[in-house]
């Protein structure tokens, strides 16, 4: 065998540039949710009692379950990248699949949570909600917008991870070229990061 056949094509693309670009995008996400957290904190400081009363209606158990689900999905995401980097494709594919399934479990949980709220007539602009004090209306408005936008991010993250799963199984993403998976992972962790703040601020106000 000549040496030439051993030479692999260098991976194309700019690893550093791709990562910097991803982080710049994550910064815009931080400011997007940051603006909403700002709105939340201003309204909460204006209506502390209403926020307290409204938050009592949220299920701590469902919120805690979703916290555990997302934290675990972050672990499986990190593991999938770690395994791929050391050239182990099979466990990487397995952990990517687990991450997507955990994202799905989060959404199922969210469906039941929102469903119960809507069943009780608590949804934006509902007559029951509009009869509540002003601060509680604001609380539920923020609750639906912020957990809704976060839920959209979970859906987008699952789509990205599904594409990456196909890429990994077709060896487009592999142990030598894994920046796509790393950046997809960064997005997934950011979704987890936002939930880390959403959970105590909406479910645990006492």
């Amino acid at each position: 065998m000549s040496a030439e056949t051993e030479i692999k094509a260098a991976p194309h693309g700019d690893y550093v540039g791709a990562k910097v670009g991803m982080w710049l995008f994550l910064v815009t996400e931080v400011l997007l949710f940051g603006g909403m957290f700002l709105l939340y904190s201003v309204f909460r400081s204006k209506y502390p009692q209403d926020f307290h009363e409204a938050a009592k209606e949220l299920s701590v158990a469902l919120g805690a379950a979703n916290t555990v689900i997302l934290l675990t999905s972050s672990l499986t995401m990190a593991l999938s990248i770690g395994y791929l980097r050391s050239g182990k494709k099979k466990p990487s594919v397995l952990f990517q699949t687990a991450t997507i399934l955990l994202g799905f479990a989060f959404l199922v949980n969210k469906y039941f949570e929102w469903g119960a709220k809507i069943q009780h007539g608590l949804y934006p602009d509902s007559p029951e909600l509009l009869a509540l004090p002003k601060g509680e209306i604001l609380f539920y408005g923020l609750y639906y917008v912020m957990t809704g936008l976060h839920g959209l991010h979970v859906i987008v993250g699952m789509i990205i991870l599904s594409v990456l799963l196909v890429f990994t199984s077709k060896d487009i993403v592999n142990g030598h070229s894994f920046i796509k998976l790393e950046n997809g992972g960064l997005y997934w962790h950011l979704v987890d990061l936002i939930w880390i703040y959403l959970f105590p601020l909406f479910y645990l106000i006492t």
Binding site: V30, L38, V42, A78, G82, L186, T206
Partner: protein
């Protein structure tokens, strides 16, 4: 960002995850104690510790060059300034 770098072992991820679960249990317990204003401070503090764990280990910021840490810190700093300026208006209007 060094490509030759290997993560501090996959085991460390499991420890970080366990730490995150413990912190979640602590924040739920503390919230149940009804500490009033103090409970908000502890909730945000614990959430920030959790966020730092995710950023440093799961998102690899611990191993990245200063540029990436700077980019992210800049966004957090911007947000902090906006929050402080807004609250000086809300409180002293």
């Amino acid at each position: 960002m060094k490509e030759e770098h290997k993560d501090a072992g996959l085991k460390s991820y499991v420890f970080v995850w366990l730490g995150l679960l413990v912190l979640t249990a602590i924040t739920i317990t503390v919230a149940g104690l009804h500490l009033g204003n103090f409970s908000t401070v502890t909730a945000v503090l614990i959430a920030t510790i959790k966020a730092l764990l995710v950023l440093y280990f799961f998102m690899h910021l611990k191993y990245e060059p200063p540029l990436l840490r700077f980019i992210f810190a800049a966004s957090v700093l911007t947000l902090t300034v906006i929050i402080i300026l807004t609250f000086t208006d809300v409180w002293f209007r």
